[in-house]
Structure formats: C-alpha cells, structure tokens
C-alpha cells in the first residue's frame, strides 16, 4: 500500500513540473489556437540559458528565472511579430509548417553554437540540498524535488490570477473567444497575440530553468518533455489553465503508477491511452469549452 502511495506522490511531484512545461502551450495553443511545434525548443533555450548563466556566471538557476523569463518573453514576441503573424490568416497547416521550420532553426542554431554534447549544472541551491528527505506516513518526499514542485505550483497560481483576475488576462481571454468582438471593445488583437506568445515562451523557459537542476541539457532535450505537454493541454481542455494543472497531475500519476505494475517501456503509451479513453468519454477534455 505504501508502494502505491509513494508512486502517487512521485507522480504528483513530476506532475507539477509537467504543468509548468505545458502551461506555456496552453496560452499559445489553447487560448490563441496557434499550433506550436517549436515549444520544446523554447524549453531547451530556457535550459541552455540557465546552464550558461550557471556555468559562466555562477548564477543559480532559480535566480536566473528572472533574466531568462524576460529574454524569452521578448523572443516569443519577436517570433510572433516576424513569423506567426504572417501565417496567422492562412491555413492552420501553414502555421504548423512555420513552427516546424522554427524547430529546425532553433535546435540546430544551438548545435552550431554549443555542439550536441551533454551539459550539466553543478552546485545549484537545489542540488546542494542533496538527499534531504521528508518522510510523512511512510511516504518519502525528496526536498529538492518538493521545492521545485512547490515553486512550479506557485508560478502556476500566479499565472492563473494573471489570466483570470487581471485586465490583461481578461483581454487575452476575450481575444481568444472572439477576435472581432474584442476589437470592438478596444482590445488590439495583434498586441494580445504577441503578448501571448511572449508569455507562453517565458513560462516554458522558466520551467526549463527549474528542470536544469535535475536533468542534463542538450539540444535535443525538448521533445521528451513537450510530447507530454501536448497531451496535457488537450486532456485539460484547450485554454483552461486549471485544466492544464489537473491534467498534468493526472498524467504524472498515471505515468508513475502504471509503471509499478506494468512494463516501463509503455510509460508514455499509458498516458496517451488514458487520453484516448477519457477523450472518448469527454471529447472536450476535463475543462474544455467545446
């Protein structure tokens, strides 16, 4: 029984991290309905940024979150203004196509600059906590991961408040629901889209800065995290921030619990199989507006 409880706890902790990775996509894809194949590359850039600041300037990744978020916000806005804006009016497949090109560009620009070698950060705050543990009712929580998960949750809640309670957030939602109506009340859709891209990129880059404490950094690192992100955004219901969080937690737990009893190679397959099952019962995802 403790085994199961431990697996659930492990899954929840990973789930919070997945949620932060996915929520950037929720903003861009869920709210703004723009498919972004290059989401993984934004994550990767965030991880590289954190590594570079840590290796070169001894800046702890948790502190590096601020400069990385600002830089990636600007980058997201740039990507929208120079590329996505031009493909927005056309076929959705052209958008996909554009982001695939972006994927090649970004991933290989990093290969050109840094080679494909693995990089690691050392002596970060979370790493220095080492093997510190908390045991509650027979279940062990590793302190570094717990803190990271906690941080992800805090950022998530901050985002939720931003989207649901601020004027900016409401303007974003309005643009997503009905662009023309939004224009009528004085919202400039182009500005909203640019800010959404900036916000989305910044969020996933922040996730990268946190992940860098636990994972190796290399140009191809994006895909394994973001393939789950796509499932999470859809499972949560496109555009629902809360849905993303719950879906991410669910995904983390499914991944973790199934592997205790079933072949581990099918870890992500179980997640996607669950998506199919849930999708068939509830086609709009957990919280989606259909």
């Amino acid at each position: 029984m403790t085994e199961l409880a431990q697996a659930v706890v492990n899954g929840l902790q990973m789930g919070f991290l997945y949620a932060l990775v996915a929520v950037g996509l929720t903003i861009i894809w869920g709210l703004m309905e723009m498919i972004n194949f290059a989401h993984g590359e934004f994550l990767m850039l965030g991880m590289f940024g954190a590594w570079w600041l840590s290796a070169g300037y001894r800046l702890d990744p948790l502190l590096a979150i601020v400069p990385i978020a600002l830089v990636m916000y600007a980058f997201g806005v740039l990507v929208y203004r120079q590329l996505m804006r031009r493909v927005q009016g056309g076929d959705p497949f052209t958008q996909i196509f554009a982001t695939i090109g972006l994927l090649f560009l970004l991933q290989n620009a990093v290969v050109a600059g840094f080679t494909s070698d693995y990089r690691f950060v050392n002596d970060t705050f979370l790493q220095k906590l080492g093997g510190a543990k908390l045991t509650v009712l027979g279940v062990t929580f590793a302190v570094p991961l717990l803190l990271a998960a906690g941080l992800a949750l805090v950022l998530f809640l901050a985002l939720y408040l931003l989207i649901e309670r601020t004027e900016f957030g409401l303007a974003l939602q309005a643009t997503s629901e009905d662009r023309d109506a939004a224009r009528l009340v004085g919202i400039r859709p182009q500005r909203m889209f640019a800010m959404a891209w900036g916000l989305g990129a910044a969020l996933v880059a922040i996730a990268g800065a946190i992940l860098v404490n636990f994972f190796s950094v290399y140009p191809q690192v994006g895909l394994q995290f973001t393939v789950l992100a796509y499932a999470i955004v859809a499972l949560g219901g496109f555009g629902s921030i809360l849905g993303t969080l719950l879906a991410a937690l669910l995904v983390g737990v499914i991944q973790s619990v199934t592997v205790v009893y079933l072949p581990p190679a099918f870890k992500d397959a179980f997640v996607f199989a669950s998506y199919l099952l849930i999708g068939l019962l509830r086609p709009q995802g957990l919280f989606g507006r259909f």
Partner: protein, 333 residues
C-alpha cells in the same frame, strides 16, 4: 498548357535516371526515389489533411504497418512484394479504420492529439514485440532474381542497376497513387471530404455522415502510407521500429504538401520536388567538411521553410505560374 507540362514532366521523370546510370552516379537516382516516395506520402496525406481538413500527425504508424506486414509475409511465408503490397496496404487501411472510427468523436485539435496518441502507443509495441523482431528489427534477405520482371515484382533489385530499379518502382507507385488521387478528387468522395472540411455542420445537414467519411479519408491515407512502407522495407532491406515510426515520415510529406499547396492535387508533388533536393544539396555543401556537425545545413533549411511560410502561406502552386509563362488568354474565357 497543363497537359504539355504533364507530358514533359512524365518524360523527364522516365528519362532522368538514364544518363545517371551511364555515368554511374546512382546517388541522384536515389534522390529521385526519395522524391517519389515522399510525393506519394504527401498525396496520401493530402486526403485526410488537405481535402478532409483534419489534423493528422500519426500516419507514420500505417507506414510502419505496411513495412512490417510485407516484411513479415516475405520473411515468414515467402510472399513476394507484388502480392505483399496490396495485402499490406489493405491491412493498414483496415487497422486505420478500426482505430479511427471511435476517434472521430473528437474534433479539431483534440483529434490531432489522438492521432499522436496512436503513434505514442505504437512505439513501445514496435520496440518490445518479439514476433516482429522488437528493437532488433526485421531483416529482409535479398534473393537475387535472374529475370528483370521477377526482380521488379519482388522489389528485389541487385547489382549496378539496383538504384535504377528502385527509382522506377517508386515512380510507378507514385504514378498509380497520383492517378488514384485524381480520381478521388473528382469523385463524390472528394466532394464529401471537402464539404466536411469547409463546414462539418452544414455537411451533416445535407446528410453526409461526417464520421464515416473521415474514416474513409484516413483509411485511404493509411493505404497509401502502407504501400510506401512496403517500398521502403524492400529498399532498406530491414525494418527497425525507430526508423519506420519516425515522425519525419509524416512531417516531411506534410511540409511538402504545405509548400506545394495544401488541398491541391499537385501540391505534394511540387513540394517534394523542391524540398528534397534542397535538403540534399544543403547537406552536401553545408553539412560537410569543416562545417560538419554544426547543423548549418539544417539551420538554412529551417530558414527556407520559415521564409516560405511567412511570405507564401498558401503554397507555391498558388504563385501566378500562368502569368509568368505567358499563358495566352484561353478560348474559353
């Protein structure tokens, strides 16, 4: 005008490999082979993606189904490619139909993720299922055939005309697919697909069962992908799960279709003819020598894609070719 272009194109395609064969530079024949395989895949994807307008990122699963089915039939039962191919294509279509029907409850982006889901589930199956070879894959031994017709029918070309044989086989399959797609485009099926794409509710309003036709569209795509998979298997002479389930087998045809013009019959063809030679040239000139390993060719490739997307989002077929080639005003105007 279009008919002349068609005849010239067909002639060029048939004649192209001959001087190369004489010179011995068979590499360019293989590039042609890849162009036709990807054009064929693009034509197949255009059915579900371009005409039926559904987001499908999972047809590489059916490419793998085709490759494994024909490969297994050959290795375990000695069934040659000419018979294995239709069986494999049918198998791919059948599995697709069964899997896709329940998925058609999902719409738009939700459907897209469900196609990815099937792919994510297929991967560990491919890697761990011992019967089909698991991670070690399936090897297809070459049995050299004495007669050229026998070699063609079994897709087992050997010796110095190997690349030539595969080129013509790919050309033949491509031409067949093109003919089939041209027929579908003009048929009632094509009409129903496009109706569903343009306005699903309205289509249902006039009595089109959108779920059924989405399944049919996707099954056609699956059959084409399965057939291409067979061609690949006999060309590569082995089927590895990592390689046949690669996402590239769908992203490259999708890119080709978008570059050429999505939803248009010749879109994927134009796109494949442009994208593949470009990536080969980039790889040779920029991915080699002192620049090797820095991915410069892929950066340039990515830039080209981004530029095409930004400045010609409707695809290159939509460029005013007629005006450029000085088409005289048609008598029908």
């Amino acid at each position: 005008m279009a008919r002349i272009a068609l005849i010239v194109g067909a002639l060029a395609a048939v004649v192209y490999p001959i001087p190369l064969q004489i010179q011995g530079t068979t590499y360019y024949q293989t590039v042609g082979f890849l162009v036709f395989v990807n054009a064929m895949l693009g034509l197949g994807w255009n059915v579900i993606g371009g005409w039926a307008g559904q987001f499908d990122f999972g047809p590489q699963v059916f490419f793998a189904v085709g490759a494994y089915t024909a490969g297994l039939l050959y290795v375990k039962l000695g069934v040659d490619a000419w018979l294995g191919l239709p069986i494999a294509a049918a198998m791919a279509a059948l599995i697709c139909a069964v899997l896709t029907y329940p998925l058609t409850r999902l719409r738009g982006h939700y459907f897209a993720i469900s196609t990815v889901a099937i792919w994510m589930i297929a991967q560990p199956i491919g890697a761990t299922w011992e019967y089909i070879g698991a991670a070690q894959g399936l090897f297809i031994p070459v049995k050299p055939r004495s007669h050229v017709v026998s070699a063609a029918l079994s897709l087992q070309f050997a010796g110095p005309t190997k690349a030539l044989g595969y080129y013509y086989a790919a050309l033949a399959l491509f031409a067949l697919t093109l003919g089939l797609m041209a027929w579908v485009e003009r048929s009632k099926l094509g009409f129903y697909f496009r109706a569903i794409r343009d306005d699903q509710e309205a289509a249902e309003g006039i009595g089109i069962d959108s779920r059924l036709y989405k399944v049919i569209a996707r099954s056609i795509t699956a059959a084409v992908f399965g057939a291409a998979g067979v061609l690949y298997a006999f060309w590569a002479l082995s089927v590895f799960p990592e390689q046949v389930l690669e996402l590239n087998w769908s992203t490259l045809p999708i890119m080709a279709t978008v570059v050429g013009g999505i939803g248009r019959l010749w879109g994927p063809v134009l796109g494949a003819v442009i994208l593949i030679p470009i990536s080969q040239v980039m790889s040779t000139t920029l991915g080699t020598g002192p620049l090797a390993g820095r991915g410069i060719d892929l950066i340039v490739y990515g830039l080209i894609i981004v530029v095409i997307a930004a400045f010609r989002p409707t695809g290159l077929l939509s460029l005013p070719w007629g005006r450029w080639f000085g088409r005289r005003r048609s008598a029908l105007a």
